[in-house]
Amino acid sequence: MRFIFKTSYDQDIRLAKHGGHQFWYGLLLVLLLAAPWWLPEYWLAQLTFVLIYGIAGLGLMLLTGYTGLFSIGHAAFFGVGAYAEAILVAAGLPFPLAMACAAVLAGAVGIIVGLPALRVKGIYLAIATLAFGFIVEEVFARWESVTGGNAGMMVDTPALFGREIDSSGGFYFICLVTAVLCTLGVLNLLRAPTGRAFVAIRDSEISAQALGINLAWYKTLAFVLSAALTGLAGALYGHKIMFLSPEQFDIIQSIDLLLLVVIGGLGSVHGAFLGAAFLIAMPQLISLGKDWLPAVVGQAPGLQVFVYGVVLIAFVLFEPMGIYGRWLKMRTWLQMFPFYEKGMFRRQKSFQKSERLR
């Protein structure tokens, strides 16, 4: 068992709360930095995708996990970021500037969704975001002069300081640096009044307001930040995939993102990256498993989507706290051993109140 003896408020304000944190996260960082040297090329590419989806997940997590606003149209911001980046880079804008602009543009689009979101709650907000996702996908398809429509558009390789980053290792570092900076930014916000205001809005809007939190301002801010982060991830995604087309940003992508945050663990930064790892690993596992399944099942179209659905249902039923939640329970077991009580986290039957009454 770990006993933390606190001697100053800084220990609570710091990000790394104790020696153990510093050690393990330091180790993780070292492993990640060294990845291009010890990971085979294929897995490095997958890790790059995990980082990209992790950033996108971070955006959605901030909105859904921390502010409590559900969005099933987040692929729209992913796409806005991706297309914006592709267009700006093709127009000759330097890579870092293009990335920043893509994020800002996605954030601006976030305001457009955020404003009506102020009037609408719960499931109705989710429906509004769903509609928004469809609209944006259509815009990608129809606005051919800009996006190339359904025929798609190519994305140039990014160039930093005059040199093209065409190696997977180089691009991996760009994604790693972006992911670390984004994570630190989000963690900083969460330990400051802004992050606490988000959590307050999620848990009780009425008392948040009574304590001086301007709901409209913070909800809009949450949308903007969330959209910007997801847009930034989209920009990186475009470079990695090298070819964009509207159907990459459809409802399935939005659901993938939502799946990511729910399975990862709503309301935790770890959850964004754990969920991303899950999202990238699942198709690999399914392909591996296909060989052992009878042909009629293994070759069925939509097998992947089916498995995703089953896994999502399983998590919601049995592990609503997500992968991170499961890890917390395991860690509690390890820390409290042998005093862990079976059923410490057992849930009781719960009874749901109608949305109309909230």
């Binding site: 059923g343 986290f345 057992r346 849930r347 009781q348 039957k349 009874f351 109309r356 009454l357």
Partner: protein
């Protein structure tokens, strides 16, 4: 005259996640009598009723109703056996009218005529409900909602009624009125009642048998007549302190040994 035991709890332990709400509770409710469980919030009173009505599954122990083990059974089935729970905080259906709420109470019944007669009986107990029969239940005041919640339970023709803090949030006048009706229901219809209350004064006068619950355990049980005379009950639950000597001293400074 001994009355048979309608409901019995044997060593019930219940928890919400890591929080142990009940740590081994045993009690008996006798036919035709009113039993009350007293205790502050967090003592576990609501959990007892929820465990009986099947909303919460106990970790250990059993609930025996009319000689049958009903532990962790489906709540809807338990209602059909004549055991009805009036939850804490009223929980009327706010978007249904008063009349519809009452009909929902009779959901498990199929004898239409008897249901209509029971509805008339309920309107006789609470004339204000008849006045507001067509109004949405959400618009009623707290006291009226409590009357509706009790009436809704009556519509199920209960043999045993579980009442969770009927006085919660109500004025002294209304609390008295509600308790009068509760006693009337017991005297006129013979309905056995298990009442959980914070208002010890009302409960100890209205009920026949009492249990005192603290931190998930029964710490005292007796007839209410005996409990009313006990010094500890008088001081801690009925608020009858000797003014002057102990009056102004803070609890925290007194009970440092707890």
């Amino acid at each position: 005259m001994t009355h048979e035991v309608v409901l019995e709890l044997l060593n019930v332990e219940a928890a919400y996640g890591p929080v142990r709400a009940l740590r081994g509770v045993s009690l008996q409710v006798r036919q035709g009598r009113i039993a009350t469980v007293l205790g502050s919030n967090g003592a576990g009173k609501t959990t007892i009723l929820r465990t009986i009505s099947g909303i919460v599954d106990p970790r250990k122990g059993s609930v025996i109703y009319k000689g049958q083990d009903i532990t962790a059974r489906d709540p809807a089935w338990i209602v059909r056996q004549g055991l009805v729970h009036v939850p804490e905080g009223r929980e009327v259906f706010p978007l249904l009218s008063v009349r519809e709420n009452l009909l929902m109470g009779a959901y498990t019944r199929s004898d239409r005529d008897a249901v209509a007669r029971d509805m008339e009986q309920v309107y006789a107990y609470f004339p204000i409900l008849k006045e507001r029969a067509g109004q949405d239940a959400g618009l009623l005041s707290g006291g009226q909602q409590q009357m509706l919640a009790i009436s809704r339970a009556l519509m199920a023709r209960p043999v045993l009624m579980l009442l969770d803090e009927p006085s919660l949030g109500l004025s002294p006048l209304l609390t008295r009125e509600i308790f009068e009706i509760i006693v009337r229901i017991n005297r006129e219809r013979g309905t056995t009642i298990l009442l959980v209350e914070q208002n010890a004064n009302m409960a100890l006068n209205a009920a026949d048998d009492g249990y005192v619950l603290e931190n998930g355990r029964i710490v005292m049980e007796d007839t209410c007549a005996a409990l009313r005379e006990k010094e500890d009950i008088k001081e801690f639950y009925l608020g009858m302190k000797d003014a002057g000597v102990r009056g102004e001293r803070r609890w925290k400074k007194r009970k440092t040994w707890r």
